[in-house]
Symmetry: C2
Subunit: 166 residues, 2 copies
DNA sequence: CGTGAAACCGTCGCCCC
DNA sequence: GGGGCGACGGTTTCACG
């Protein structure tokens, strides 16, 4: 596991910045128990090593007028690698598609889509997704309500596992 | 739509902070074309009004040792409101469950789970999820690979729609 | 919304362990 | 190697026009 290269302070930094990405460096340093300069050096190292891929404001999608969230299960005709990656590239170009994951089992991909309203989504569904080459089947499920939407990873679980291994 | 209360500068602020949540306020002000003090006032207002729910570092889950992502489709025995919200509350307590959305159609909930390894997930699956009261069926799909994972909403689509309405 | 000023913070060089 | 101290320049954040 690559996380083995990180010491407890690095993991604490990552957990703190995942919880509050706009925290000032001095506040972060205080929380992880070192002074500001080495703390900032660690953050820069974590960014350059790719452990931190970016920082994002979490916006309220419904307040902003994005009232529709849909999961789309997509089956392809060909699962040749070139066809898979061609479909993935298409997904990256569609702004409505926020997540695209390849799955095992009967369905090939699951897409999470966000749209301002149903008609915008249906225009995308019939105009883009269903017309894309190699798409064999699409089953969509509307999100009725969202109970939990936490970005990132559960650091608690990692710490628990590391302490079990020690 | 509540987004109508926001002017173009506010929407630009939200889009910029979604793309880079650690941008300094002066940089943000420059990009949206106003000076720093009113820009900061707008950000604070957006935060207090709930348009911005938080800021998060995006961490590389695989680099950190979270090698397993699973979608779990959950069917319940009872769909009474009290039973639905009881299940949702349980999901909020499970750190492995990052997203929990209620769906229309044959399945009741879709859960996105993140775990360090398969055995951690299976411990959760058999020990917690399948044993939870009211859970009738669980179908899991492993994520083979992730092609896109963008947090947030597609502001481009919103701007396009607003300009069509104007 | 902009200007100016004061406090704070990010950042660097240097020294220490 | 990493951590701490001090100082400079930029930033945040006031009060005010």
């Amino acid at each position: 596991m690559s996380a083995a290269r990180l010491d407890p302070i690095d993991r604490k930094i990552l957990a703190e910045l995942q919880a509050d990405g706009r925290m000032t460096n001095v506040e972060l340093a205080k929380r992880v128990g070192i002074s500001a300069p080495p703390c900032l050096r660690r953050v820069r190292t974590l960014e350059e090593a790719g452990y931190i891929k970016g920082y994002h404001a979490e916006v309220d999608s419904r307040e902003l007028g994005f009232e529709v969230q849909v999961y789309a299960m997509v089956g392809l005709q060909s699962q040749a690698e070139s066809d898979l990656s061609e479909f993935e590239a298409r997904c990256r170009d569609w702004p409505l598609v926020r997540e695209c994951n390849m799955l095992n089992g009967e369905v090939d991909f699951i897409l999470k889509c966000v749209a301002p309203d149903l008609s915008t989504f249906q225009t995308f569904l019939t105009g883009d997704l269903l017309k894309a080459p190699n798409v064999a089947s699409v089953k969509t499920s509307l999100v009725i309500r969202s109970a939990k939407d936490e970005p990132g990873v559960p650091f608690e679980v990692l710490e628990e596992r590391l302490s079990r291994m020690a």
